[in-house]
Amino acid sequence: MVLIQSYVQVPGNTDTLLDPAADSLRFVTEFFEAISQSASHIYHSALPLAPHSSVVRKLYGQHIHSPMSRIVTGIPTSWDSCTASAGAASEVGCAVWSPCGQSIAVGMGTVIEVRDSNTLERISTLEAPTTHLSAHSLSFSPDGRLLACLQEQENKLSPRSSVFRGNACVHVWDVQTGAIIRSIHVHGPGEIVFSGDSNRRVINFLPSFPSSKQYQFHIYDVLEDTQPHMAGLPWSHDHQMGAHWIHEGSLRFATSSGLGGHFIIGIRGLQQTSHLLPMVELFHVPRHSGKFSFSPVSFHASFVTEADVVILDVRNSRILLEVKAAQTPFIPLGHFSPDGHFFICGTEEPRIFIWENRSSDYGPWSNFRPRLPFEGLSFSPTMSSILTWGQEGIQLLNPGNQSTIPPPDEAGSCQKRHNHLVAYSSDGALIATARRKDHVIKILNALSGDPHQLIDTCMETLDIKIVDDTICMVSSCGLVWWDLETGGRAHGVYGVFDRSTVIDPGANHLALSHDCSQIAFAVGTMGPYLWRKGLTLARVFLDNPDGPVEVINIQPSPNQRGLWLLTSVTSKHRPSPHTPYTP
């Protein structure tokens, strides 16, 4: 399918040829898991779940016939930004694209997995003999045949501390055969990277040691068991090393100290025998905090902290982009695209932001919400995809997926995950939905998904339930209800809650009786109250000598003859009990 997509990239008729090919690839990739289980799930799962805009759905939608399930509402209008995702048994600590972009190496603890870059299916597993070390840094050789991994001993107190004295090891595998070519015990943690112009040299960057007065890096030959070439850069301050890479035999990296940032650009001399490398260019910049990254094609460098993102031209310290975080902090990392035209970073929400290099500055290009939260991200070599990795796994994202979400400095309202509410009518024919703290309740037809009623609640919604022909809402001041059919005039028992009380919208609870005639609800220490249809409301006083209790949760009891109230007590000496309550 990838080949078909590449073949049809010809001038003219691109829409009729390329769109079905691209959509078919996306269809197969998206539903690979379902289709690989059984071909019949093309019709049972894949086609019913394909978005309305999918070419495959338009072509074959008439064949959707599943005797087992029917999706009434919720079919997306278009493909989302995530083209593939894969959970991980353990935290993904690092990941890297192969130079050709056809595969991805993923480091999870002691195991390295090589995965297909379209489906994220596992191609091979590379296991390191040092089981007590965890993968920290990965690098493919320029020809893609070798994979180097730097493993470090887990040190939860300070894994990157300059006082690191633990074990570190570099393993180099032949990716085709899975055989280890060489294992090298190295002198410390840091980063590992293949030389950009050699398939046999790897460099281990070491952190700066205050006593050494220099940065050190060790250059190893992966094919010959020789002593490493050790080199260093003299420096008089206590610095921390930032980004770096090798290109055509030169190094670039950034350093920082409390006095300001320092950039050392284009150090050549890896072939020299001297232990101190000559410095080609040095720039001082005013900024000294944040995770560094360099543009591969220009003198642009980025700094990302939890509070802001800054891109500047290190030659003149001119700021090209400065964005402050809104409610959600940035993840302190960033990455330039291989052609230097784009810069990506993300927030903890999670959301990914892409900025475009507009020659004189950087402007917003797109931003979108990925499926999984992440701790690292990078563009593919072909720039057709973005890979992210983190605790919950890896995912591939389409960078061209434009979004209408405002940029991060305006996006305060969209940064928080909303709490949504759902309630059924007793006959199951209607479904009510609302958003906590919002003022609208939507009622839909469960069979067709068509809107049935829209109720303006005029006050904050904390929870909803449907009781016979009435929809009930716990609001910030009491219980309110409407006629389900007409949405007519509201009735309620207001003033149950003190208006001056600050109510945590997540701390309210409702439970519905079996015959749908009664509701129990509570908000924090207020309640529980029992409401019976017919305007009677009762406060349940729990027998607790230690004072008022806070209702943590209300659930129907397993035997359906009582309520479980999970409560807390104010006494410091008593544990929080489950208080079974049987009326």
Binding site: H418, G428, A490, L530, A538, S557
Partner: protein
Amino acid sequence: MLEDGSFRNVTKEPLDSPWPWVNLFSCGYGIQGIGSKEWVVDSKGTKLLWLPPNWRAKNVEDVKWNDNFLAFLDGQDPDPIIIQFCP
């Protein structure tokens, strides 16, 4: 206080009558869904529907069964996702 400005006393009621409570969180057809797994399966283990990652347990809110209907919210779209399972 009612909406017309009048007040209604909150009465304390005796609660000695039988008062069964319904469990809203299970389906009468033995269908198990929206768990941590990738599939909705019936009581015999037959895979009825594959769930996209954003419809799986940790990504959805307020999952409710009603007979053979399942409704939940995926945390992003304000409208619910409704699926009818045919027993």
